[in-house]
Symmetry: D3
Subunit: 331 residues, 6 copies
């Protein structure tokens, strides 16, 4: 655990004496022939720009994205944005005992609480084949990775433990749908919800940054998950073929449309429920985070967000009514 | 209330002495020169084909879709489908005291229970402007129509009280999203959920059949709802402009995409939550009903369903495993 | 009225002693540590780049887009483009008696002449309900805004009085269609043409720059217009419901396709005429302006124009034939 | 000229003693083993169904679509539609002196008047190269075909002289655009308007019915027109290359989008004007005709029209207001 | 082997005494109350319509699609199409020793020759891991199924041995591409070509008719193939991970686009080669067969073919030139 | 022929004394007020960046894209990319006897060998009309241009002789398809393959750089080719009309889809074969070149390639297996 203030708690003129991770780094030469280093440095709460004009020989030669550096300097403001005026910068040493992992963004939810919830959901599965399958998969190293992985590279739940948080949301949404529709097979649907994104633990690397792996790009998390689950069912005696095909269909179809990379579209009531629950959890998380990180103090609108194909609006409750007793929005 | 067995409880060789509604009617001449009447007759639970070869003079001359007829005859089976062999048929008389409304499909949920739930949701709104708005709109004739209307012509929740049932589902889904995301403005989102489809009470007629009205076709339920809510907010003193615009934005954007007839796309966190909650409620209901009404005994697959762009599968739990302790699917 | 030469009449080496409006402004630091101000300055006829190296303390601190500045300097040429070499720059004072409005681009057509034409068109409506409606709406502050508003932010008729100019064009095109097709209801169609874009007076702000308002982004000009016209018809006794629905349908469907943000597609002969007339007026204006402002002296082609999805060509008549007696193109 | 009443003037129980053209013909056998002939017979004003039960040996053996027959019988009504009860039918003899051409639908505009208008438009072209080109092309057999051809197989201006009528409309629309925009090259644009659809005289056959030719299907009217005009310009000395390319570009791009079979999109101001003028003329004509031929007495809506992707509405002015002094719509 | 003339060699008035398979069957009642059986009967070379008016009690009760029947009767012509006038019909008995398999369409290429070619292609693979993998997969029951399977249900190579024929074509096309581009990894590409459609042996059933299996609909042949190959590589020691991922990528991406159900798009040179080779082999086969089976004697055009989104043309060489020394087209 | 080492053979610290062509040139002023020239210089094998700080007066004033310059200096490495440190630079003089053509990229295949192959393919055509047509077209200046032209501006076969190389590939692919399908008309298909892209010799200029001509942009190579071939067939007596239309159809439809600028879609078996063969040749060439020029030493992935809509992967055989006996990929 790092003994330093989070970046997002600092203000103009605050002093920096921090370990930070390199998010972007580029050596540039000014047209006057002077070299400088243009960087973006961050911790798990924020990222700030920093241009370094002196004493960057070591960093320029050996520093790369994902490396941890020790930085001293000052927070300054430049055209409405905070940035770091660097006094000194050097690569972290082994003896510093810091890891890039400590700088990745993390879910705001408590991990142990989420794991406890998840374990209870597994126990709620009454079908013996499915229960066995879930216990086999959600164990050992796979379970550990599942609990740590982000649910995406940058769009939604793109933080450590994000996959677990996202999966729990979908489980609860699906349970609500089972209340509305007792005809839905709860065991099948909840098992599918738990397993649908398990392939992301191999599609993404999340040790020092969130990046697609070669396997992730060539195969994709949907087929990776298919293979993991298919192989595991083969180890379970008496796993009904129809049940297996329906479970695998949930995994394959959970992105809902061929053009979203699902090789089959949802063809069962459970499959359409899982797809729509996934959309709901993902989109609301993504929009909330985009609004949170993009809205500036001088506007209630974000820049244009490509994945939403629009700019987004923050409902500024304070301006619109003097006596709103409600929760505040994004404050 | 009709004192007769529901059609969906009858089997081959059962006798018919029923009031039924005309769903389709066409006078045909055989190529041998003989006239006959090809019809589809139903009650609120099912529809059956019936070709009538004798004694249809009155019906042929004056019967039209939506009219109630008194039919005697027998249930027979023809190539795997049940149909009615008509012995006699005549138009219902005023003295029969039956109405086409009695033959429209209805929600399986209890109306009073749904209204009670809905009223409690209104009471949960703490913002005074919104609370006032909801009370004004959900009252009198508008509220009555809202409680009776279907949520669609044929695809999802296409039955009497369907709009209320659908709205309640969306409210609950949105409440769950508010649990996940305290940043969401609950009052705004739940109010938007309640009002988003209110325009359907004018877009559709649902007295004797579910049809689009002229206004429905020329204006559409989204803009109708916009106008209803906008007019009503104008009657409330101090209704904050920013709140009004955000609420109206929820209504306008709730179909999520321009090509789905929303004139604006969702631009707030509440708007994306409402859109995705609507999709979830609508699609699962639609798929469940399509599977329910289309799957035959000799296949686990429906015909091709145009709105799903695929055929749909019924997970036949009985065949796949001897000891499934779960709920049955669509049985 | 400003007593200074229009920017588009100046050439290389001409002296500048002008009030200009700030179109873009960005404070930059050279890599050698020197600050400078990168700006775009313009009047209603043109915009030029200007980098300012000295004496910009006041502007950098308080100047923002839309502000008027007093500039002295020289026009110079840089790689084929004219730009301003700034000698001095300061913010305009109240005593200078200049307004950002004086710097917005304006229609080349005479305003009074356009208003006169428009009034005659209103008088040509013989249906009493429609005539009354038009007189009510095109009066007072609404009429004033309508006469000043641009028809768009940047694509077509994007200048002061542009909405009025665009509306007049559509009226005349629709009148021609009524000559071809006496079956068209002229009163309905011309009224629809007059009202179709009235919502733009609230969708856009056009005091110091052309920007979308919050209401414009959340609601959009189509639904704003719908509401304005619907409310106004309610004040007219005996306004036939069928007529109202058809008129409102013209407004809602005038962008022709759902994906262009019309919530309904054109379903009447008048609606398709209005949509296509709108397209014709808008596209020709947009292409003409794009060609006019983009074609350089060394090429008959513009850069790639995203909204046209192509580069555009200027037919250079002088090169192609010695004795063309025709009008010149874009000269 | 046929000495018989037009079909669209006849009513129930009127006697038929007419030459008519076969529009559809199919020999069917009843399931009782009886043969009958199912046909659609028409003149230039309408088409009616007719099933023939006796005396059709000759027709069945030798009659085909486009042939003229002599029919006696009675108009009868069947489920709201008029049809012909045939008493006798036989193929027309040469001595009858009738031609299938006499039964094709025709423009309601006077041919001589249209030709006179068109000739004046040619004379208005002042560019010598273009004037010469137009005189060469619009002469002899080509001009005769141009004056007779329909502008389409079934969608818009799908009647004899339709191409000329359509072309005149576009010319007038383009002239109006030249009034708005003096920068447009009038000679170029009007010449392009005249020539843009000339390829239809080879794409379609219109002697006995409107059908695509082999060349029409394999090459298409756009490229056919390109070739005709390109070849003709080569015969004119001093035809400027830039002018030729711009004129040909108008022809190639006049359908506006690649997916509408234009091999290039409009890249000049004249090209976008021609495309949008074509759309305006075509769509209004098509919608008007679809409404005219599809709306029944018991509804103000047509069936679903695939090319419009909607059903269409007839504004029924009589119902909506007692005192409309306007032109009637489609009556 | 059936001792009877192929259907496609018979002409009008020929006698039938054949075993045929039922392709369609429907019991209908005439409007005069008479039952008859509407069927389509075929062998591996053709299918003909046959309506049966007498003696069909057994067939109507027990016959279904895919069953073999013994039929006597005569070939007759009806409106340009041949059909069967049935004298007698009965279900085949076990003692008849006929199987539905004998009636499925078959590749015109010799099976043994194709297998020999295929084996030689396997032997040409020099990479040891890939060679071992191919030998393992193309053996035993899997190889037998692979040699028998069609490549599709109805569009291309939709006949017994069609998958083998299609695979051989793709191999040869890919070999040609390797000649053009020595940079392509031949072993990888040819192995991918061999394996890309192997999943079709489980996606389709082809014993008595070509139908999708439940697994085929829920999982799809792409993922089935992925799983087969992935499992098999796991049995091979030292199978390089990078090679495995690249091979599996070929399988997953071979339909080229997400909307064609590939969960990843081609990302390597080999992958794009395989996709385009597959398209080439499939489309030419499909168009050729569609032209072959659809063109009638009175036209050089087929009906509209949905999968080609056009009607297709047969180049009738005989009509176009007296002295063409070339191969004839589709004769 | 230039007597200098190819750029792609040079390494860090190598001396430059080369004629090179200007690919990009931009005069910039540093923020410290110092001018410098930012350029990209290349020969036919590569392009390198070069910023020039001194002695560029002449180049800055008169140099433009496509000009040849004489450069001395050193190769240096900057952040993993090689660039040129310029010591001196001046425009080439006429006496230097160098031409921009010498710097355009060229096919790696031998021109004479390709021409010999092509001539043999022409001789293989047995249809007299087609043989005559091909001999007429592939002669003189047209043939010379055809042999020199690139097949595209930048995507595939974008180098001198690329059109000939691409055409030969398609011919061979089509010959293979004729082996699979004897029903295809070989003469027609091979002639179509030879002629399909002939219009590119007028669509593109390729003297000093690859650019679209005005005619290329306004007409496009498909219609240019149509016109060339159509005109030429008119000179051949007895050229059968059906053959001509089918040949022209191959040219017009060879881009396969309307949205790819073909004015008709493929409607014959030969047309679909040509389209798919073109796709295969083009895509594999394009992907190979994109991988070749984009993959860096530190990654097996290219940047995102817009025309492929993905990043591309280089299968790095060396890393994946110690004993691959195969050809190397892109090395």
């Amino acid at each position: 655990m790092l003994n330093q203030l989070d970046l997002n708690t600092l203000s103009k003129n605050d002093q920096i004496d921090h370990f930070l991770v390199i998010r972007k780094i580029e050596l540039r030469t000014t047209r006057a022939g002077k070299d400088f280093l243009s960087t973006e440095l961050g911790d798990k709460t924020a990222s700030l720009n920093a241009s370094i004009w002196e004493g960057f020989t070591e960093i320029a030669a050996r520093g790369k994205i994902g490396d941890v550096v020790k930085v001293t300097g000052t927070i300054e403001e430049y055209q409405g944005n905070l940035q770091i005026r660097v006094a000194s910068i050097k690569l972290a040493r082994p003896s510093d005992n810091v890891s890039p992992r400590d700088f990745l963004p993390e879910s705001k939810r408590n991990l142990d609480e989420m794991k406890k919830e998840f374990d209870q959901k597994i126990k709620s599965i009454t079908n013996k084949s499915l229960a066995k399958l879930l216990k086999q998969i959600f164990s050992g190293e796979t379970y550990e990775k599942f609990c740590n992985a982000p649910a995406g590279k940058s769009w939604h739940h793109a933080y450590i433990h994000g996959l677990l948080e996202h999966t729990l949301e979908i489980i609860k949404i699906c349970e609500l749908m089972c209340e509305f529709h007792p005809e839905l097979n709860r065991d099948l649907l909840i098992s599918g919800a738990m397993l649908h994104d398990i392939g992301k633990i191999e599609e993404l690397s999340f040790d020092s940054a969130f990046e697609y792996t070669d396997k992730g790009k060539l195969i994709g998390h949907i087929v990776i998950a298919y293979n993991m689950v298919s192989d595991e069912t083969n180890k379970i005696q008496g796993f009904a073929l129809e049940l297996k095909n329906n479970l695998l269909h949930l995994i394959l179809s959970h992105q809902g449309k061929l053009e979203h990379a699902s090789p089959v579209v949802p063809k069962t009531a459970e499959a359409i429920a899982l797809y729509q629950a996934d959309e709901l959890s993902a989109k609301v998380n993504a929009y909330k985070n985009a609004i949170d990180s993009e809205v500036r103090t001088d506007s209630n609108w974000t820049r244009y967000i490509p994945l939403a194909d629009t700019d987004l609006h923050k409902y500024d409750i304070g301006n619109s009514s003097e006596n709103e007793p409600n929760k505040t929005l994004f404050e």
